[in-house]
Structure formats: structure tokens, C-alpha cells
């Protein structure tokens, strides 16, 4: 009885902000990554299966590269006969020691693989010094 009265009163209060469901899933997965360093840049590859291109957030801040990808559940109320992997958001961060030209960082997502190009800043790129003959 008291509970009913309370819920009715709450229904009326539409102006009150309700707690927002900010995460679609409770589990966050760590994606598998490869990191390749060449003379010009660092390249990070991350497997993000099921992630839409608009749902990836790549940030480079204070020498840390953070990858956060949203992956909402693809099927609701499904009774699995075989359940070998879960679906959820991805998160991974790396500390980057190299001097990176942060304005020139690019990232692309293709077939569920994220590729982040981190070009090295000019100051740290190896320079070939010409030796003059006298």
C-alpha cells in the first residue's frame, strides 16, 4: 500500500533526473594487440570484433594511448546452446615512451581491427649524416 503510493509519486516526478544507464554491459574485455615500431612511427593493431567504427574512442594524453570501444550485446534473451565467448566493451591503455607527434595520429577500423598510427616527432627520428670526403 505504502509502496504503491510511493511509486505513484515517483511516476509523477518526471522533472527529476534519473540515474542513467551508462554502460551497456558489465564486463569489459582486454583486446589482443600488436605493436610495431618502424623508423617513422609506432603502429598499434587491436582486435575489436563486433565494434562499429563510430563506437571507438582513441585518446593520446600524457604519453598514454587509451583505446575504449563500445560493443553492445548483439542478441537479447537468447538461450545459448554453446556459449564460448562473451560480448562487451573493450578497453586497453599503453604507456608510450617515444616522442609522438600527437597532431598526426590517425586511426582506422576495418573488419573489426583497429589500426592506430603514431608518427614519431621529427626530433627523435633517426637521421642519416652524410660523411663528406675531403
Amino acid at each position: 500500500m505504502a509502496k504503491n503510493a510511493l511509486s505513484k509519486r515517483e511516476e509523477k516526478r518526471t522533472d527529476v533526473a534519473l540515474p542513467e544507464q551508462t554502460r551497456s554491459s558489465a564486463v569489459t574485455y582486454t583486446p589482443r594487440c600488436d605493436i610495431l615500431e618502424t623508423a617513422d612511427e609506432l603502429t598499434v593493431y587491436a582486435d575489436l570484433p563486433g565494434v562499429q567504427p563510430g563506437d571507438v574512442d582513441v585518446r593520446f594524453e600524457n604519453g598514454e594511448l587509451a583505446i575504449h570501444a563500445k560493443c553492445p550485446p548483439r542478441h537479447e534473451d537468447v538461450h545459448y546452446l554453446t556459449y564460448e565467448y562473451g560480448i562487451g566493451d573493450f578497453y586497453r591503455a599503453f604507456a608510450i615512451n617515444e616522442a609522438i607527434d600527437s597532431d598526426k595520429i590517425t586511426a582506422e577500423l576495418k573488419h573489426g581491427v583497429l589500426t592506430v598510427h603514431l608518427p614519431k616527432s621529427e626530433a627523435v627520428k633517426p637521421k642519416k649524416i652524410a660523411v663528406k670526403a675531403q
Binding site: 594487440c33 610495431l36 582486435d47 565494434v51 554453446t82 573488419h111
Partner: protein, 150 residues
């Protein structure tokens, strides 16, 4: 407090089973229903299978692959095969700091719970997720039986 008495002559297996049951009950109390945690895949790729009245669905995460790299077929009515090769992008210079992603050929055979129509199997690869839709064969579909009243 445990209400069971310590019985020195019960085997270690009984004790372990009891421990497992305790653990299961502990997880149940957190609201984690049976089947809400994935079981470890025995082979690559990991596959989720589910069904509705008309179809059986199989889904696998295959990032970085295209449909041309895959071979999917159903044999014997209910044996699903997923075959393929994930090729590593050619790199001719540089140093790998981390290599966690796997590459190479794979093949997985999955026994489906019912027979499916092998000619009407559809496969879709979207953002690195493979979804296979297999219509159940007519004999495997659930039938509603009308109950007559006399």
C-alpha cells in the same frame, strides 16, 4: 557455519565436489545464472550457437578476415565446418614490441543439435563477426499438435 561434520573416511573427490558445489552456490547468490559465463573454447574460433523455432545460428569473432578467406559448409545434415586462414599483414621492416594476435589456418567442426537445410545456409561477416544462419530442416521444426476435446 558449515553444518556437515568432517568425515575422515570420505574420499578427497567428495570433498572437492562439495567445494565445487559451495562455489556454485556462491556464484548463484550473486545472481550469475548458469550459462551466464562463457565456457572456454576448445578450438579456434570460439563459437556461440543458439536457435529459434525456424533457424539455428552460429556466431564467431573473426577480426581482420574477409568472406573470401573463409570456407563454410554443412555436411551430413548437422556438421558445420568453419575453415579459413588469417593472414598476417606483410611487414618488411621494424620491430614488434607486442604480438598477441594469432595468425594462420584454422578449421573447426561443430555438431549442431538438429539437422539443417545445407543449401539455404547464409553467412554474413560484419565488423569481424561471422554470423551463420541455418534454416532447420522440415523434420526438425517444432510442430504444434492440436489437442482435440471429445
Amino acid at each position: 557455519m558449515l553444518m556437515t561434520r568432517w568425515q575422515p573416511y570420505t574420499s578427497l573427490w567428495d570433498e572437492l565436489n562439495r567445494f565445487q558445489e559451495e562455489m556454485n552456490r556462491l556464484f548463484d547468490s550473486f545472481g550469475l545464472r548458469d550459462g551466464s559465463w562463457p565456457t572456454f573454447a576448445v578450438a579456434y574460433p570460439a563459437v556461440n550457437v543458439w536457435e529459434d523455432d525456424e533457424h539455428v545460428y552460429a556466431e564467431a569473432e573473426l577480426p581482420g578476415m574477409e568472406l573470401d578467406d573463409l570456407e563454410i559448409y554443412v555436411t551430413g545434415g548437422n556438421q558445420l565446418t568453419i575453415k579459413g586462414e588469417r593472414k598476417q599483414p606483410a611487414v618488411n621492416q621494424g620491430v614488434w614490441h607486442r604480438q598477441e594476435r594469432g595468425f594462420g589456418s584454422f578449421s573447426r567442426l561443430i555438431s549442431l543439435p538438429v539437422d539443417v537445410d545445407a543449401d539455404k545456409v547464409e553467412a554474413r561477416l560484419c565488423n569481424g563477426v561471422l554470423t551463420i544462419t541455418m534454416p532447420k530442416s522440415e523434420t526438425a521444426k517444432p510442430r504444434k499438435i492440436a489437442v482435440k476435446t471429445e
